[in-house]
């Protein structure tokens, strides 16, 4: 138990609110959090020596002493397992807010679960945030963002094979889930079910998922929830440090190398910096019985971040680039419905292959660029003004399976589908610190977006603009925390379509769709005692129909379906109730139960056309975008229990019922019920290996039989069990920290198909994968 030290960093020193003329009314409050990732730490004892007063931090890491008289106090922030406490002197002449940052024992890092409760910045307090950091984030390093977040109950993925994985929250995905990359709304071609988020998971130091209507701060369309991807905070102290991650995967014989270097120089203490980069490649992926043709992937990403921080103001620049080329499983690109039928009936995929790293048609090439500039200034002692500008550029190329027959065309090797999307966003927020129990934020956001296409027309070129204003206020009163927010948005989508004129020339016709509406949120947290806590949020959110829902008109080659947009679609209006109950009677038991209820008016979905669509390639199923009233309700559960200090048991589960009111039937393409359990074995006593964790787990995914009859080509696949094993250890190499992790997914090489994977029509899912990762921090 040597080697551990507690470090203290001052963020807001004596941010105070005044209350003049009275004695013994001052308060001393703050948050205790992890120095590395700002995760709040509960059950830390805070002690005022002179008064012999003790409090414990709550599940949000908060503590508060009230009715203090002016004077000098010695405050002791204890730590677990006999670690050195932090002692701090305060001269209380006013209300004092002080945040303790503590170095958590390595065991803490290793044990990290989906954090009990944590608080990403700028999030509604009355919505529960699930946080991934530490080992829980590390163990899936090298996989996609979707695969990382699906370890949270209520989150699953919509897959197009292994490399295209989209997060699904409470049965909703694409435009209904917002992803905030470093505080910026990710704007790619997210409407497409085979368009994965264009983000390198290695930039994330912490990923938070906030389920429920999050419209107030992030945009009216956050119906299902938000995923917040946060980079590490820039270094506070003078140093040069970094990290190297190496991940190797057996399946696909691939690997990832990711690294960052960061620092701060003595000569310019206000300036801090980080550069980061990731290289990733894998070859042909294997199902248990066969190889999946053309499933290779190549990716290179990099980013840099610069900070200039003074006492009362600061500025940050962030730039990142994401570049990927990914093969699309060849046997999934089919000519028509009879090819699809042939593919279902075949026991093995219709095309076989040998292992290769090469990527052939069909494939996608996607690049995404983000530039962000942030400036903040403290407005006196009462608040902070933040100004953020960002530009994103997204570039998507899709290549069909076959080159054109015409040699001249084939020689050009043009993508068959090409999108260019540029987005500018501007955010202005002012937040005031808590005073008399109140804190809050007001803000405005603007967005301007333009998209063009080349090649095959799937959606027309468009411009998209929006302006939103919001205010949110939070009131802390005794055991209550009450929060209310309001937002108003004005949006306009303009599409440009070429139409033939009388003299057979073409004319560009602009059609505009204006939308405007308010959204609201009200919620309350009630902390009964250290054992019970409840959180309830009632929120509205609305989403303007997206360009594909309004205008898509064409054949999806991969999906073997013809989609017809409907330009008369109206706004989708959601009313969402989200509740979380937390039961933590002692250090060993943690139970959280989160039921939710979404009522969505005008829920936009694809309804099959009465007759198939006839083309020169044969018949295809047709789909019209249409609206209905839908109810999506369910419950997510997370529990963990320590039998002893070395044995932990975790259970996660989620259940969803999605009902189409209009058709009086189930909604199609909703994740099946699932439950997962993991036993965690901890060893701590070894002197050299600081901590060893061994965690076998089993997941059961039920068959989704709640589907509308006859609306799919084949029945949903059977239920399946998946086993996996996670082993990790942390140790010191010289003066530095290192980690080794071994993650085996689909341990028993089970043959299975998932309902939410579009490749289930053609192939079994990926077989066993052994992934070994090394991390070295210096």
């Amino acid at each position: 138990m040597k080697n551990t030290y507690i470090q203290l960093v001052v963020f807001f020193l004596f941010l105070s609110a005044n209350s003049i003329g009275q004695v013994c009314t001052y308060s001393l409050s703050g948050i205790v959090s992890d120095i590395h990732n700002d995760a709040p730490i509960s059950a830390i004892e805070i002690y005022i020596k002179e008064l012999n007063k003790k409090v414990e931090t709550d599940s949000l890491g908060r503590f508060q002493f009230s009715s203090l008289c002016p004077g000098k106090f010695t405050v002791v922030c204890s730590n677990r397992d006999g670690y050195k406490p932090i002692v701090k002197m305060f001269d209380v002449q006013d209300n004092v807010v002080y945040n303790f940052k503590i170095e958590v024992h390595l065991k803490e890092l290793a044990e990290v679960k989906i954090s009990t409760l944590s608080k990403p910045k700028d999030k509604l307090s009355t919505l529960h945030a699930s946080l991934l950091f530490g080992d829980e984030l590390e163990k899936n390093r090298g996989t996609t963002l979707g695969d990382i977040v699906k370890s949270i109950p209520g989150v699953s993925t919509l897959n197009t094979g292994n490399s295209v994985s989209k997060p699904v929250i409470h049965g909703m995905h694409s435009n209904r889930v917002l992803i905030l990359n470093n505080g910026i709304r990710q704007e790619g071609q997210q409407w497409g079910s085979e368009h994965a988020p264009e983000i390198d998971p290695f930039i994330a130091d912490k990923i938070s998922v906030v389920k429920g209507a999050n419209s107030i701060m992030y945009g009216s369309d956050a119906i299902a929830g938000v995923i917040l991807i946060d980079t590490k905070t820039l270094p506070d102290s003078v140093k040069i440090g970094g990290e190297v991650n190496v991940v190797g995967n057996s399946n696909g014989r691939g690997g990832t190398v990711a690294s960052f270097l960061e620092g701060k120089f003595k000569q310019v203490p206000a300036f801090s910096w980080r550069i980061q980069g990731t290289l990733k490649q894998n070859g042909t992926i294997a199902a248990p019985d066969y190889l999946l043709i053309n499933t290779g992937l190549k990716e290179y990403n990099f980013s840099y971040e610069l900070g200039w921080k003074k006492k009362n103001y600061g500025t940050e620049l962030f730039y990142s680039q994401f570049n990927t080329t990914l093969g699309i499983f060849g046997a999934s690109h089919i000519g028509n419905l009879s090819d699809l039928q042939r593919a279902f009936e075949s026991k093995v995929p219709l095309e076989s292959t040998s292992f290769t790293y090469a990527i052939y048609r069909p494939y996608q090439h996607v690049e995404h660029e983000l530039f962000k500039a942030k400036y903040y200034v403290n407005t006196g002692k009462i608040g902070k003004l933040t100004f953020v500008y960002a530009r994103q550029y997204n570039w998507r190329y899709e290549f069909d399976k076959h080159r054109p027959l015409n040699d001249a065309l084939a020689a050009k090797n043009n993508p068959d589908l090409e999108f260019h999307l540029t987005t500018h966003t501007l955010d202005l927020n002012w937040s005031h610190v808590r005073k008399n129990g109140f804190k809050g934020t007001i803000g405005a956001q603007g967005m301007q977006q333009a998209n063009t296409y080349r090649g095959r027309m799937l959606v027309p070129s468009f411009e998209n603009g929006s302006i939103g204003i919001f205010a949110v206020e939070n009131w802390l009163y005794k055991r209550w925390e009450i929060e209310a927010g309001l937002r108003y948005d004005v949006k306009q989508l303009s599409v440009y379509q070429s139409e033939k004129t009388m003299n057979n020339s073409s004319l560009l016709v602009k059609t505009s769709h204006p939308f405007e509406q308010a959204s609201a949120s009200i919620g309350a947290n009630y902390t009964v005692d250290t054992t019970w806590k409840y959180m309830l949020n009632l929120g509205t959110a609305w989403r303007a129909p997206s360009v594909n829902e309004l205008y898509s008109n064409g054949l999806h080659h991969g999906a073997a379906a013809v989609e017809y947009g409907n330009s008369a679609l109206k706004v989708e209006q959601a009313y969402v109730a989200t509740f979380t109950g937390l039961y933590t009677p002692n250090e060993d038991l943690h139970i959280e139960v989160s039921p939710y209820y979404n009522y969505i008016q005008g829920f936009i979905y694809r309804q099959p056309t009465p007759t198939p669509v006839l083309t020169i390639r044969g018949a295809f199923p047709g789909f019209n975008y249409t609206q209905t009233d839908a109810i999506l309700r369910g419950v997510d559960v997370y529990t963990s229990y320590h039998f002893t200090h070395w044995l932990e048991w975790k259970v996660k589960g989620s259940m969803l019922r999605a009902w189409n009111q209009g058709a009086n039937n189930w909604l199609i393409l909703m994740p099946a019920d699932r439950i997962e359990t993991e036993f965690g074995f901890h060893w701590d006593h070894n002197q050299r290996l600081k901590h060893i964790y061994i965690g076998p787990s089993i997941q059961y995914v039920a068959k989704q039989h709640r589907v509308p009859e006859g609306s799919d080509f084949v029945d949903p696949p059977s239920a399946y069990w998946l086993t996996s094993l996670h082993i990790a250890t942390h140790f010191r190499m010289g003066r530095n920290h290192a980690e080794i992790g071994l993650q085996i997914t689909n341990l028993l090489n089970t043959r299975y198909r998932d309902y939410m994977d579009r490749f289930r029509y053609f192939t079994d899912a990926m077989g066993r994968n052994i992934s070994l990762r090394l991390k070295y921090r210096f």
């Binding site: 089919i334 028509n336 027959l405 068959d416 095959r456 027309m457 070129s461 020169i616 295809f620």
Partner: protein, 189 residues
């Protein structure tokens, strides 16, 4: 000490200046016309019939000028044949979205080893189709065929299917992907 700190600082700055300049250009202007679509469409299938006995010719057309999806086909002819007769049939595939129209069937002929036209009659007694042309490997191609009609009047459908079978052509329709598949209504009188 000062020198030791300065060197990495300069290195970092150098690396950063490299990444800063790598911003991508964007030329996104939705209000300007989209460049013409250079990808290939098969919009039209023509079957050219020659009555072997009487020598008269006619053509039957499936035409979907905007390709798959979009608007429905503008022309989809029924095939009218005389009973107990033999016809020579030639297939032409066109891309009419280009000006002038591109004759895709010529490209199919060039890549004969990777393609197969496949004909199936329902009921089978309606028309008996025999493929008359071969690729350089001696396997059927099917751009040219002979159709022999039933002895009695009958109605049904004939499926004309072009399979793309790069490297997997084995003379059956069970491999590769479908490039074209049209079910023509056939009336034999």
């Amino acid at each position: 000490m000062k020198r030791r700190m300065f060197k990495p600082f300069m290195l970092a700055l150098g690396a950063l200046s490299l990444v800063v300049v790598s911003c991508k250009k964007d030329e996104v202007k939705p209000a300007e016309p989209t460049p013409p679509n250079e990808s290939e469409l098969i919009t039209t299938m023509e079957l050219h019939f020659t009555d072997s006995l009487r020598g008269n010719t006619f053509k039957v057309v499936f035409n979907d000028p905007d390709g798959d999806g979009g608007k429905a086909a503008t022309q989809f002819d029924t095939i009218h044949l005389l009973k107990n007769s033999t016809y020579k049939v030639e297939v032409t595939l066109l891309d009419k979205s280009k000006t002038p129209a591109d004759t895709i069937s010529n490209e199919v002929l060039e890549e004969a080893n990777d393609h197969l036209f496949f004909y199936s009659s329902n009921p089978t007694s309606l028309v008996n189709v025999k493929i008359e042309d071969k690729d350089s490997n001696g396997k059927n191609l099917g751009l040219k065929s002979t159709w022999k009609t039933s002895k009695d009047s009958n109605k049904g459908k004939v499926k004309v299917k072009l399979m793309h079978q790069p490297g997997v052509k084995d003379g059956t329709s069970a491999t590769g992907d479908t490039d074209v598949e049209v079910d023509f209504q056939v009336n034999v009188n």
